[in-house]
Symmetry: D2
Subunit: 475 residues, 4 copies
């Protein structure tokens, strides 16, 4: 078995919260389904009915984890939070599948987290030294420990205390026996939207979750905002303020679904602009424009429109894909790319082809894709990338390969072109990228392209470092 | 739980055969993976190593059925046949999961079948009256019984005897302990392609299977041809001849993958022509052309090119789809269509939209899709269908709803337009369809559109009739 | 993993039939539970409600196969038959798990069989040559094929035709959509009892099944009797007659549960007599009598009573036993016997011990048991066996190891004593055995001891021969 | 489904520890197998290889939890601890399945516990108030929290600090990445034995575990002793001292296996004495003595020997028992007792029967058993109980029904006799019980009989109280 590598950065998760719906668990489940692209390793839901708290987590896709309808009879209550976890390298583990649920003095407290804290190691060591016991290797668990130690009288204030200590990217939902709390870091790095479904409140990483459940999108949870929902109503708290937001610009480039609205705009609309700006900056002399489906489709259409080169479907994506494939011992050439994409001979043969891709991480998959396109008869292959070269790691929740593996880290454009084996290669500039996103003046995090980190990195931050360090394996 | 209806006809299966590969089971498995679109209810592989025969079948998608790599250690041998079964209404059953494997006087004999026999009921009754015992409710099993009763000296001649008695659509692969036999009915209704993978022979319903395993496409198994492969070589037999072939034209319209070659042409190329002919016959006054993804993508591009109306992506398809979804008791509006498609607000708002669909069966899904598109803000919705109205049942292996449920059976175009709630509706003509397919003169089956059945229907043929009649349920 | 060998002959199955109970499946399930000792590899139930037939089979113990209570909602109807299959060597297979269920001209027909046919190979070859297709490698399937080919007007007469052709040991239950049929071979080799549960009829291999479900034992199905139960009542048929019955005497020695009545007597009572006769024939000079639990308990008590030597519990049996155990690479001494039995040091130390065992097959387990007893401190070990030496294979449904492996085949008593490493060894004589069983004059099969086969063996009969020959493996 | 109630107190668990064996996990697994009678709800093993810690837990019997041999490839290392959990009422939960494993400042720390703490609620509330987060509802978890907060320099001293704070019954095994620690409360309430297997050390609740793995029994871990094993050797610590031990006398009456040595004696030997003392105190005028198998077998033999009344097997126990049974809606009479026991008609009919039982808790099962024995034809039924009436709850790890349900709590012997419907009833006196156990002068806990609690009960102690209170449910 060999894992099918997407060669794309991996997001760390999608989250959802529901308050006031008689079937909160089902609403959470459907929302997680719509957010499946943000995490495919595992999923979990915790619900509450005012008195009891119920939890179900599992490894695999949403449909696998909740395949037994009986689960929903047991996940009782009108409050729910849910989480999809992304696929790590190494064996997946139930231990780290969120929502995390613990008992503390105020009773059960559950949390689901999208993002990454940059000072959790220091905090964890401080907590451990004074006697805290950790059950996961998630950075998120420190939030619960700090809240559990707070002397503040309400759970909201206990959590606020914790959020004022941790630093990094976080969109969070908390659940207690009788309330739902949603919070977003002051930089607004990851998205978090607020919606209504009849009398119920729903929060979710992306608005596509609202579309599936028929909820209405109200607004985003503001950067630095925490809201608590209980039977008496809602109450807003302020975590802190920063001069400028730092929305993750990569959400527009690749992560979010095109049919979602994030940071105040439809993703699809921004991607079309990325394609158009790319066309202006990096035109090509070619017969057809194709995309690497599906994430680059809209950018490719934008590119086609602006250049006037015909858009066509040159690659078919296999959608029945799972995580692993069993290969013959005598390996099939290009297998890892073939299981995902098949070239359409009739479209590619004898054509000069522009391939629009949203981004390049290691370039390994794209290289094999190019070879496959050439073997299908393309006369020329021109790569156009709808974002700048990725040169720096993300410490705020994107999971890149190590910096050394980033193809643009240390290689010139010409060297990359040569590695990919294409006739020409063009990236969108950072200016072109910023020119396409909405409300650019409010501030975006472009660290993976520019190296400018909005939140200082003062300790080694590596998503799986702790997992390696802590040395526990669930079997 | 509620099944997610595709509102498309269902194909009865994809088949594959391998001879001469040391890991025949893995090659079959990968081919079945590529043919997943032809059957998603269950899958099975039978292998042979010259002495023993090994069988593994299961319900679900290919990746589920063969998820344990240990299976391939046990599916030994250099010969394999495999089968994907389509999704029936009613509870799926292992009983009917192919390949069927029986013991008869010549030893183990296995079969996988794509198509449908039209005289199996009469044959089955004759066989039962003279003492045959049936283990499945598949039409295919009669072939094995007739072969088992033959006095002919070789298994090839025994099978030939059977194939000369049965009537209907069949692409078949058989396996014995030491040989692979492939056969196709004289009308050539369903596709069946022959390829080479090094020294091994591969046959598969569509050539996209060859692409995944890196095999080379040689030619189609000819209508009326049977070939037997064993360690001494191959040998060709002729089942019978008919004046004209009757290739299923619906394979081009919907079933086959766009990256496959069938009946001598790339499917994708034909679909683009369907879109172009549709544009000529049924132009529209609109701002954008969108497709119902993914089956109509190429036709929509063809339509866009010929009309000059811009192609855009107005619907996002959810690819993490399973067969069933758990809904809240208070149903979500448009749920069944929302779990499959989400409209892209930014693309549709205030636009006059042409929606290209490949075909309409009952129209129920399309109607809800139209409502969803309208709610997303489209100003006008114009449906263009890349095939003629479907008015007649298929007796050759497509699984339609009952004739009464076919929307075009009894409703005028205007009535359908009204039912769908669109501003205009246009179908491609039968001439337009025939004008797009390759080698039209060789003959196509257009019965679902025209009612002209190339093979006479002399008994009630209903795919599940026997299943109901025989009254056995596996639990 | 290493199979835990019982070193006892294996029975081929327990069967049950129910007619006229609204929850026939549950009654069958409970009966199979009581008959678990007759077959532990797999279990199956087929039910009928007058119109439909329902089947559920699985591998493992009864509680595993029917662990999901939902199964009983689906196994509808007032008629049921069930079957427990014994544990074969080699990988167990669903293919051969009974009841067998087929479709033939009279509709669905199911069968469960305890026993073994001695002419099934000839019959199978005849049937195959004239075109019959076999789906299992069970000897039982020939009965269905012959019945299916019969021209007789009723299913009872069709079955009778078959039963008059097959030869061997059979206790059978058949099920059609509206009737239950029970039959027993003219020699009455295997037991089959008839009971009443309110208005319902129950048949079962042993009466202990009646005790569990609260049914009343009426009588045995007579040798050569076939009874059919339908909504109009019951009807008796005669298969044939033989001068003398041939009840399997080994049912008393080992197979049947002590709390069952078979062949007209409580098993427990006969076993106590075996112990007493053994005491008379083979006294011993010892301090305590212990049994190899649990099958020899009653015989040991009988032996203790007649000799006056104190009965004690010197071996504890581990009852949480499964089929396989995972061992360390560095094997534990006596492991295979230790997982089943643990010696009680306080009882055995410094004692002269008589160990009563019901029978010896290969002697391998007993030998290791003796070593373990010695290591626990026993001063002398005397084996007393409550049946004669086993020297001949059984062709009527007991599964012995091959004749070569039978320790008494070729070894003298003294040689066996030496092999076992005991101070003395004494077997019960055939006369002593016959003197203990009820109605001895009616006739018993003692072939495994005496070599006198009541039904002539005219072809090679080996339980798994066909399985090997037919060369199909389910994975 | 209806749980099959044993109507016996339930022990809280069996534990095992291994140090210095290359396949420590397999040794732990086999030991847990031998200790299956001490806990049947779930099982878990944690191993360590000096650097990493590995954990596997599951619900069900040992063979179910470790059915996949691949588990042992992953449970690496030369150190292991294991735990079998008893069957609680209510749904079993993975959350509480031990060994508990946490991360604290000294690294991973795992624990398995047999016994019950009597001051854990107070301790837990103190810990929660100062910020500790609990992951389970086990009383055992407080030990880990107190150790985690200790400022002591070594893990041994940290654990000692905790053990000096907790009060109650505990036999414990701890595991870190490089050591095994075993400890037993100063009262020695639960057993814990130390053995050697080659160069490896093994500790286990009962010596029957040593027999299965071929280890040699060295001695018991002394009351109040803690031993730590690492690569450098072993080191002994003293937890504290008390004037007198308080061995649980019920371990001899019912819990421990007859082939184990506990508190310095073979259980089987003590049980035989119990039967003899019972014979002296409570003779009977009867024809046979039978036991309620298997736990009363030895006592019944002792009773038979001393009275001279013949011992016989009047009840057959069904050993294929699982936890639940599916019954027909129309309940079978005596079903719950029938699934466990079947009376042997031939033994009981017309006899005056003494039934020896080890103890009576609620009496419900015994009452139905008596009815069944009467219906099987017994002329008289005399119950003799090999322990005194149980009147008081256990706070040290036995799980009784509530005090109100104890039949001897509030009912006189005559009332109990009447309730049971027997001709006579006799219990062993407390003196008779104490006269049978070894080293009586060292001190036994007889609280359930006498109400004299050796450790003061200062807070409400109810095994599942916390589980109810904490209000978290895993689904």
């Amino acid at each position: 078995m060999e894992p099918v590598s997407a060669d794309k950065p991996r997001e760390n998760c999608g989250i959802v919260g529901v308050f006031g719906h008689p079937e909160a668990a089902k609403i959470a489940y459907l929302s997680l389904h719509a957010l499946q692209h943000r995490g495919q390793e595992g999923s979990g839901i915790v619900t509450a009915d005012g008195e009891q708290v119920y939890r179900h987590v599992g490894l695999g896709l949403v449909n696998d984890v909740y395949s037994d309808p009986g689960i929903f009879d047991q996940l009782r209550g009108h409050i729910a939070i849910g989480h999809n976890r992304y696929s790590t390298t190494g064996s997946p583990s139930l231990l780290n599948t969120q929502p995390i649920l613990v008992n503390c003095k105020s009773g059960p407290l559950a949390l689901a987290h999208n993002g990454n804290l940059v000072n959790y190691r220091s905090l964890r060591h401080i907590l451990e030294r004074s006697g805290s016991i950790f059950q996961t290797t998630n950075d998120s668990e420190v939030i619960l420990h700090i809240a559990a130690r707070s002397k503040a009288p309400t759970v909201e204030e206990q959590i606020l205390e914790a959020l004022r200590v941790v630093r990094g990217a976080y969109s969070l939902v908390f659940l207690t026996t009788d309330r739902l709390i949603a919070a977003r870091d002051p930089y607004g790095i990851r998205p978090l939207a607020l919606g209504r479904l009849g009398n119920a409140v729903v929060v979710a990483s992306e608005t596509c979750a609202f579309d599936l459940i028929g909820a209405e999108y109200i607004r985003d949870i503001a950067p630095g905002e925490m809201i608590s929902f209980d039977s008496k109503g809602e109450r807003t708290y302020r975590i802190g303020t920063v001069p400028k937001t730092a929305h993750c610009i990569f959400e527009f480039v690749y992560f979010s679904r095109p049919d979602s609205q994030i940071f105040g705009e439809y993703v699809d609309k921004t991607r079309r602009k990325l394609g158009k700006n790319l066309a202006l900056e990096q035109p090509a002399n070619a017969d057809i424009v194709i995309s690497v489906p599906d994430s680059s489709n809209t950018a490719a259409i934008g590119y086609s429109r602006r250049t006037g080169i015909k858009y066509d479907i040159g690659l078919i994506r296999n959608h029945y894909i799972g995580r692993t494939f069993i290969q013959p011992s005598q390996k099939v050439r290009d297998f890892n790319v073939r299981v995902k994409f098949n070239p359409v001979g009739g479209v590619l043969r004898d054509r000069r082809v522009v391939v629009v891709d949203d981004s390049i991480v290691r370039g390994t998959t794209l290289r094999r894709l190019v070879q496959m396109i050439r073997r299908a008869g393309a006369r020329e292959v021109h790569i156009r990338v709808a974002s700048p070269p990725i040169k720096h790691p993300c410490y705020y929740g994107m999971d890149f390969p190590t910096q050394d593996e980033l193809i643009a880290n240390g290689k010139s454009i010409e060297e990359i072109r040569e590695y990919l084996g294409v006739d020409s290669l063009g990236y969108l500039s950072l200016e072109g990228l910023l020119g396409a996103v909405p409300n650019e003046e409010r501030g975006y995090c472009t660290a993976c392209f520019s190296g400018e980190y909005p939140i200082p990195i003062t300790e080694k931050v590596e998503k799986l470092a702790l997992e390696k360090e802590v040395s526990i394996r669930e079997i």
